[in-house]
């Protein structure tokens, strides 16, 4: 007894050193918080300044006079190439694209996960492995044939075409999410329900679906973030008028005509980021769960 307490005492520093260490720790963590927040702060303040103030003032200074002009321009007047209608139409493109793509891929993932986890048949594991593998391919390797296929199906350059692409390449992840969740549900449940005469869909509908809320939230958030933030598919498979918001943002920022309006660029970037930021702030817990599940398990 005395032996242990003597050793623990040897491990303890003087109270002053402990307090200093504690303060140092908080200082470092706080500095890093500033580092992560800095770009957002700069974006926000720049978007609220006039061009004149941007040219004369400092990057990190607060705006002397707040103006929302840049936001109005970014939303409805900024030029993406020839057209100057701001981000607005592209924002709605992204909504029209993301909502159906998220819903369809989540539904397919739920059914697939249910089959793979609870209705195992010979070869099911192989199919799952093949799907899992699909999550890891660099999409560059499917860009060319997909461009031709979309043309063949007559949906090249359309929003349904992009929905199709996102659903196809989202299936791997959504299946993975649901499969890993349903695997934890005891298989006796299905057996008992079968004895009671319930069929495949009935069991899914009245037993599995009611249990699925957490994983549905994780999957929807993951898919929404992926699809909203996608750029590669958007830039490859859209045309003027059907581009998603990330492509339009890039076009605004990199358009070479006229005066460079940094405040408009920043307002546009924040507008493009708002939906996913909102989801993150509101449902951060599920966002992180999806990120870690999607990476660690996959």
């Amino acid at each position: 007894m005395t032996d242990i307490s003597a050793r623990t005492r040897a491990n303890q520093q003087s109270p002053t050193a402990r307090i200093a260490l504690r303060w140092g720790l908080y200082a470092i963590l706080f500095i890093f918080a500033l580092y992560y927040l800095m770009p957002l702060f700069v974006m926000l303040t720049t978007s609220l300044k006039s061009l004149e103030e941007i040219r004369t003032g400092s990057l990190v200074a607060l705006p002397r006079s707040v103006t929302f002009e840049a936001w109005a321009t970014a939303w409805s007047g900024a030029c993406t190439g020839i057209k100057c209608e701001g981000l607005q139409p592209y924002f709605w493109n992204s909504v029209l694209l993301a909502v159906p793509a998220v819903l369809i891929s989540t539904l397919i993932g739920a059914m697939n996960g249910y089959v793979i986890a609870q209705w195992r048949f010979k070869g099911a594991n192989l199919i799952f492995s093949l799907m899992l593998f699909g999550c890891f391919i660099p999409f560059q390797v499917v860009l060319l044939p997909m461009a031709r296929t979309l043309g063949f199906l007559n949906i090249a350059g359309t929003i349904p075409g992009l929905i199709f692409v996102h659903v196809i390449y989202g299936i791997g992840f959504t299946t993975l999410f649901f499969r890993n969740y349903y695997v934890t549900i005891p298989s006796d449940l299905v057996k008992a329900a079968k004895i009671d005469g319930a069929g495949f869909f009935r069991i899914f509908w009245s037993i599995f679906l009611p249990l699925s809320l957490p994983i549905v939230v994780v999957t929807v958030i993951w898919q929404f973030t992926q699809i909203w933030n996608d750029f590669l598919f958007g830039v490859s498979f859209s045309q003027a008028g059907t581009q998603p918001i990330t492509v339009a943002l890039n076009n605004i920022v990199n358009s070479t005509t006229g005066v460079k309006e940094y405040n408009v660029d920043m307002a546009a970037a924040i507008i493009a980021a708002l939906p996913t930021l909102f989801v993150y702030v509101v449902a951060g817990k599920y966002f992180i769960r999806g990120l870690t599940a999607g990476s660690v398990k996959g």
């Binding site: 992560y36 770009p39 660099p138 490859s236 989801v279």
Partner: protein, 289 residues
């Protein structure tokens, strides 16, 4: 009817299976095939051998892209891991504001890389950004022109990439730290082992699987990096910040060189598979054992 009932699960899975077969494996096969042809603007299906790969490896632009991938990949992975581990350990010291700090560290992961690129392009802008801030503090000769300096521009991609992904690595490591058996840590504390030794000898070694996952995720992000470069540097100055992904895109959609696009995509996939396949294989085997 009975037959149908028995096969419902298979029928439900079948469309996805067929879709994956066609749109993943079939398409990979198509790209592989075309990478051995003379295809330029239009695909051509006569196999002539590895001429596209010969052209690729002789191309100085591809050489730059692979070099950049190496520089970016190594720095991005190492810095994100070191920073993530450090922040995770610091946050694990019963910090009162942990929830808020975690939220702040991780939010960049919710942003599109185009947004991240746009923000950093503005911050690193030599005329009006960070450089002019430091000059304003009285350091009149301070220069920070990495964004437009061909030798340094790739490091700006690292800066923005680390900013985006390190909080995520922190979250992975934090979860790992929390899953270490508390009893062992308590026993070590009772034995009077100093905290830094507990970390370096007990906790960190037991997190080896997390290091592996973090590495896989980061390597995967690095190889697929496309949006960030497009938004931050556009691959420039010249093609100084080209990565394989931007090279492939340029060949496919602006140069009209399908053969080069296909062969560069296949090399990218080779790199991904060299990293991911052993990992997936060991994961799947561990689960089946």
């Amino acid at each position: 009817m009975l037959w149908l009932e028995r096969h419902v699960p298979k029928l439900v899975l079948a469309p996805s299976f067929v879709a994956v077969l066609i749109f993943v494996y079939g398409f990979i096969g198509w790209t592989a095939w075309v990478s051995f042809t003379r295809s330029r603007l239009m695909p051509n299906y006569d196999i002539v051998g590895p001429i596209q790969y010969e052209r690729l490896f002789a191309s100085p632009r591809w050489d730059t892209a692979m070099n950049n991938l190496f520089i970016f990949g190594v720095l991005f992975i190492v810095t994100s891991m070191v920073l993530g581990l450090m922040l995770a350990i610091f946050l694990d010291q019963k910090i009162r504001t942990e929830g808020v700090l975690r939220t702040i560290y991780l939010y960049p992961m919710a942003l599109s890389l185009i947004v991240t690129g746009t923000a950093w392009k503005w911050i690193l802008n030599p005329g009006l950004g960070f450089e002019s801030v430091v000059r304003g503090w009285g350091f009149e000769t301070f220069t920070f022109d990495w964004l437009i300096n061909p030798d340094m521009a790739i490091y700006t991609v690292v800066i923005a990439g680390v900013w985006q992904a390190s909080g995520f690595v922190m979250a992975l490591f934090l979860a790992g730290l929390r899953s270490v058996d508390e009893e062992i840590i308590k026993a070590a504390q009772v034995d009077g082992i100093p905290t830094h030794r507990i970390y370096s000898a007990i906790i960190i070694p037991s997190m080896a699987p997390i290091f592996l996952s973090a590495f896989i995720v980061l390597a995967h992000l690095a190889i697929k990096s496309f949006d960030l470069v497009i938004a931050l540097t556009g691959g420039g100055p010249g093609y100084a910040t080209d990565l394989p992904a931007t090279y492939m895109y340029a060949m496919a959609f602006s140069r009209g060189d399908i053969g080069q696009a296909a062969s560069s995509a296949m090399v990218m996939m080779g790199v991904v598979f060299a990293i991911v396949v052993p990992y997936l294989y060991s994961e799947l085997r561990a689960k089946n054992d």
